[in-house]
């Protein structure tokens, strides 16, 4: 292990860590607002990469089918539950939100694809297509059990991940994809070759963390989300709808996962089932941050990336063992050091 190699490994680890950080921040965001540990997050990132690759190949991506199916399911569920409650006046609005909006997105993609759009437009299209998936899944799967225990929500979330992987195979096929690099630039930092892609990944991670900070501290919606995270009942008494807060959290989280998917697509081969490990490692990072603090989750994710990079050099066969073994001391330290809150005791 020379200094050169250490530098290369560190940069590789930071780049990987930045991707994990984006997903980890999204995971924490959704967890704090809805109490759901959203395991399928990595899948969302992988699907974004696959969507972009399909758009690059001038094909209509499988995501379109996924969004249409989910939109129809969510719409039916929403209308039925409204009808049961006798709130017929809210039905048109529900149809607009759950069916028409996602379909408009699909329509936009379908129309734009006719004109062979350039790369930046394709990236925006891929993100647009991915955005509705999580909120729709939330409506179909999590909303009916919103008041259940964290453990039940986690179990459902794991089941949902397996369902999504199956759907991914159906819609995207078994082959891996790799997209065109976003930039072919490269710079030298202290004699170490750093690709422009790495710089881009880091910048994106920093920009998004910064934007989130501003959003939560300086906008009304952000404050409402924070209120919901702190105390659902209290927030409801103040006129904040937890359901809507959840939808916004899922939308934001999808955006983060989508961006990380776009960023890793050129540097890694992404398969329909690549998302799980990505999500799991990001989750380890989020755990290090105690599932509560964004800077903590980001730091934890960077740590996971760097450790993974060095582990793959030291002992490539045991790489994942090393990464996941890290969880044990962290969990021990967390459980010994933290005060248990009232809510957890009730569960």
């Amino acid at each position: 292990m020379t200094a050169d190699i250490a530098a290369i490994l560190a940069i590789d680890g930071i780049a990987t860590g930045a991707v994990y950080a984006l997903v980890a921040i999204g995971t924490v965001l959704i967890f704090t607002v809805t109490r759901v540990i959203f395991i399928p997050f990595g899948d969302i990132a992988a699907f974004t990469a696959l969507t972009l690759a399909a758009l690059d190949a001038r094909q209509l991506p499988g995501t379109v089918g996924l969004v249409v199916v989910l939109a129809c399911m969510a719409c039916v569920m929403e209308v039925v539950s409204l009808a049961r409650a006798g709130e017929f006046r809210a039905v048109p609005k529900a149809v607009l939100g759950y069916l028409v909006l996602p379909l408009i997105v699909v329509g936009i993609v379908w129309l734009t694809m006719r004109f062979n759009p350039p790369m930046p437009v394709r990236i925006v299209l891929a993100l647009l297509l991915i955005m509705p998936i999580s909120p729709l899944l939330d409506r179909i799967v999590f909303r009916p059990i919103a008041d259940a225990s964290v453990l039940l929500l986690l179990t459902v979330s794991v089941a949902l991940h397996f369902a999504l992987v199956g759907l991914g195979l159906l819609f995207f096929g078994p082959e891996g994809v790799r997209t065109e690099p976003l930039t072919s630039m490269a710079i030298e930092i202290a004699g170490v070759h750093v690709s422009g892609q790495t710089v881009l990944i880091l910048t994106a991670a920093l920009v998004f963390s910064g934007l989130l900070f501003l959003f939560f501290d300086f906008t009304l919606i952000g404050k409402a989300l924070r209120a919901t995270a702190l105390n659902r009942t209290g927030a409801r008494l103040m006129g904040i709808r937890p359901a809507r807060a959840g939808t916004i959290a899922y939308l934001l989280g999808s955006l983060m996962a989508g961006v990380s998917g776009i960023l890793i697509a050129p540097v890694n081969t992404i398969f329909y089932d690549s998302g799980f490990l990505l999500g799991l490692k990001a989750f380890v990072g989020a755990i290090v941050g105690g599932m509560a603090s964004y800077p903590g989750a980001a730091l934890g994710a960077f740590g996971v990336g760097i450790i993974e990079s060095f582990a793959s050099f030291q002992s490539s066969t045991l790489k994942d063992v090393i990464v996941f073994s890290l969880l044990i001391p962290v969990l021990l330290w967390r459980s010994l050091a933290s005060q248990h809150s009232e809510e957890e005791v009730e569960e």
């Binding site: 290369i8 990987t16 891996g176 540097v267 081969t269 398969f271 990505l278 490539s316």
Partner: protein, 382 residues
């Protein structure tokens, strides 16, 4: 309810009637989902092509039952049991990944049903109780032919990087076996998982030993990952691999970094470039035509051809076994096994097959040619 009963009776009657005709029943397992799907799907298409090419033996119809094992050995085991115990198959063919194939082989041996494996199988069978054979070129032979080529290209120090699974072990051990006799030196043993997204660390370690050439023990699309990392680091040496890498997505994902890699592959990969005198030339072109007809896409990989060769072995053995026993009986299973192990000089599209009890594989060096990736196409290197 009564309607249901009569319907069940009717279906039962139909099933009984169809089995009375004594079709030969084949149980085929492949990986249509999971990490092995990128090679499992071609295996499935190869069987469809083989059915297209030959769907009966001596006038007996062949009935094919296909199941998916999801790239999971325990599912493959369940599938094998189900096919034997419920569907009463005469022969098993399977499956896409090495661990699942080994699991299926264990079931076939236990329940005494012949099996044609379309993935490599390691080890030595007990000649008295051998129920399976394996179609593909064994890893040791694949690696031996590549190693001979490395020697011919005057390569000395070899870096190795491969999958952290049975396949990675097969290639590594094959390279190590050649090392003893051939004077090439394998200096690294780096591994990565099929789902990994970065191999920077492993590649740095490979490059640290300053290798003349790097040998890749991966398969399919993910086999391109080390090549991409080598390309990033500006590696100027040669790269070598095995037929497991050969599929269109490997070429697509590998792009410029995969250019120039030399792999040992079955002759079917470069069928149209073979000399007319080559044993595989005509059959390989027939196979391609049947594949196109069955699947409406041209074949571009070597995996589907293993299924096809397995089918060749099965149909020639079945033609002889039918003389002594009827399909659907224990005697037929035994006769099938004996006849499969009696295969002599059978030309397939990958190899000339000679099986005998005491070995799973039945191919020799005629089964391999070296092909090089030039401008995204595999070219024959005599």
């Amino acid at each position: 309810m009564r309607k249901m009963l009569s319907l069940t009776a009717l279906i039962g009657g139909l099933v009984a009637a169809s089995t009375a005709q004594a079709d030969i029943t084949i149980g085929f397992v492949t990986s249509l989902s999971g990490p092995g799907a990128s090679i499992g799907i071609p295996y499935g298409r190869g069987i469809q092509a083989a059915m297209e090419y030959k769907s009966e033996v001596n006038g007996e119809k062949i009935k094919l039952i296909q199941l998916d094992d999801g790239s999971d050995p325990s599912a493959a085991t369940r599938n094998a049991r189900k096919l034997i115990e419920e569907e009463k198959v005469d022969l098993l063919i399977g499956t896409a990944t090495a661990p699942s194939t080994i699991a299926m082989m264990a079931v076939a041996t236990e329940l005494k049903v012949p099996m044609i494996a379309v993935s490599p199988v390691i080890g030595q069978p007990n000649p008295a109780d051998q129920w399976g054979i394996s179609v593909p070129q064994p890893a040791s032979l694949l690696v031996k032919v590549v190693a001979d080529r490395m020697k011919r290209d005057a390569m000395k120090n070899i870096g190795y990087i491969g999958f952290s699974d049975a396949w990675g072990d097969l290639v590594y051990n094959g390279a190590k076996a050649v090392e003893a006799e051939d004077g090439i030196k394998v200096l690294t043993n780096e591994r990565y998982a099929r789902v990994d997204t970065s191999v920077t660390g492993q590649i740095l370690k490979v490059l640290a030993v300053r290798p003349d050439a790097v040998l890749i023990g991966g398969s399919g699309t993910q086999g391109a990952l080390p090549l991409l990392a080598l390309g990033e680091r500006g590696f100027k040496g040669k790269t070598y691999g095995t037929v497991a890498l050969v599929n269109p997505d490997f070429v697509r994902v590998g792009g410029k970094s995969a250019e120039g890699i030399q792999v040992s592959a079955g002759p079917v990969i470069v069928a149209e470039q073979l000399p007319d005198s080559h044993f595989a030339k005509k059959l390989a072109l027939d196979f391609r035509a049947a594949f196109l007809k069955a699947n409406n896409v041209p074949t571009t990989d070597g995996f589907s051809a293993y299924s096809f060769d397995g089918w060749m072995i099965f149909t020639t053995a079945a033609a002889r076994a039918l003389k002594t026993a009827k399909p659907g009986t224990v005697e037929f299973r035994k006769a099938m096994r004996d006849e499969i192990l009696n295969t002599k000089e059978l030309s397939g599209v990958h190899a000339v097959y000679n099986f005998k009890a005491g070995a799973y594989h039945g191919v020799d060096e005629r089964a391999l040619v070296i092909v090089r990736l030039v401008n995204g196409a595999w070219t024959y290197q005599p």
